[in-house]
Amino acid sequence: MSNVATKAKELLESKAVQVVIGYENGTNGVVRPAFITTPANATKLIYDERCVQNLAVYLTKHEVKHFGKMGIVATLPVMRSIMMLISEQQVLPDNIVVIGIADDGNILDFADMKIMQAHIGKSNLENPSKDQEKLAELNKMSLEERFKFWENEFSKCIKCYACRQSCPMCYCTRCFTDCNQPQWLPVQSNTHGNMEWHILRAMHLAGRCISCGECGRACPVNIPCHLLTMQLAAQTFNYFNVHAGISEDMKSVMSTFEPNDKESFII
């Protein structure tokens, strides 16, 4: 039984939680989210390098909250998502138990959020290096080349909203795309409308994205939409010296301001 499974079994047996959200083996060599509600089933839980999906998306799902207190297997991005959700009042710290996973794969016991906060504070909060490379590559292109790149990518988008649904921070029960007074975005998929969708989603995630890359992974047609939100995550740090998801009570970057926020383009 993996370490994660042992920990989960403990938590379920002691009734500290009613469900543990973790990873299990799926079909054809993939891993997938697992929802363990009995100690006996805890043996299903695994953890290895394939386990990258951001599980925090389930913490705001009615069907999961319904079980009661939730345990969650959390790598660094998941921990940061949890912090973001707490800071935005979407999750109560008392309702969750975090089964932290360190970079070396060991279990981290977080007795409370302050300890998890300290762990996050010590960690590398930059965008993942392979994404940084891709961002650098795009930033080196000319304006026209970049436009062509994104125009081509968004011509493929089918507006399935897998990007939105897989993102822990897209928890709005009524997304702006669901409004028709006014109809902000076309309902159909067309290149222009798709671009508008992704631009606005990225803007709604500015200062909130913790760079898990889940949106890009979820996309069935392989659009690297995670690069948009990651670019803004990098710029949030660049301009405002803040990384998202670092503490329970961090101020919302785009809902607050410093009088001396620096810019060089407003005349």
Partner: protein, 338 residues
Amino acid sequence: METIKKLISKQSLEKLYTTLSASRKVYAPVVAAAQRVEYKYNPAFADVTFEHIQSTLSVKNVVFPKVENILYYTNNKTDSTITEIDLTKIQEVVLWGAHPCDTAAYDILRSIFCWDIKDEFFAKRLEKLVVIGLACHQSDAYCFCTSVGLAPNSTKGSDILLSKLKSGDYLAEILTEKGNAIVTASPDLFEQSNNDEVVITEVKQKFNHEQVTEKLKTAFENPFWIENSLRCIGCGACAYICPTCACFDIQDETKGKEGRRYRSWDSCGLKLFTLHTSGHNPREVQSQRWRQRIMHKFSYMPARNKSLGCVGCGRCSRGCPVDMNIAEQLQDLEKLEV
């Protein structure tokens, strides 16, 4: 008409493609970046792949486009002037290299779109579609055509079915008048069929769909749906890439006085799909929506349309971000105690 068997060599295949592509719209599979296969209009033959197991998106869009205008209107002071779409402008499309699961899907779509009232848009597009299918000499673990009454070399829905031979040439089964018209237009490309062996992959049967349909009759309230849908994130990916999913939304887009009404793909997996203006949602939670997907395809459609709503292509399972593998779920369903 009775099936005619011919041989078409690799070189003749290229000539056939080039001839068709020169004068008609040919929708053929190409390898896009990162080993993904996409269908494109009139790619160069050198780019056309014969080795794909499956494309990411289905090819239902040739008869059921992602977005389709259904009328135009001009708003006057007191009423609107409607301009109908001229369906005679719809061009013929030759679908090249679609696997038997995809070709069989058109009949399923027809059972929906031409059920009691004929959908003129769909019907016209289907009338103008010529299908040159490609039997499967490869498959992967996601394929399950044999569990839904099909096979890797099923001729259902094809006008001509190509099957790879051991020699590298292709067997061409001419199945319909439409297919025959292509042969008679280029007769020298089609030779006498020899008895060379076809290379057809094996797709092991994973479940008995009749058992599944039977189980579903009494499985509506079973906790199976809740347990198996907890990880579903409620996106529309599976429905949009599915060759047999046919749900659509209708919207008006107006600019000033001019506007158009269109229909576009919709998915029952999305929460908004059944939301009423009162705020009530009969499928409030994901388990209800997941149940709907399976029941529609394997219970309601067999009962009402007399056909399954699934061709076993496996796209939904490959594309799902959280491994909602439909074949696995159906295998579990088959074993369910109801």
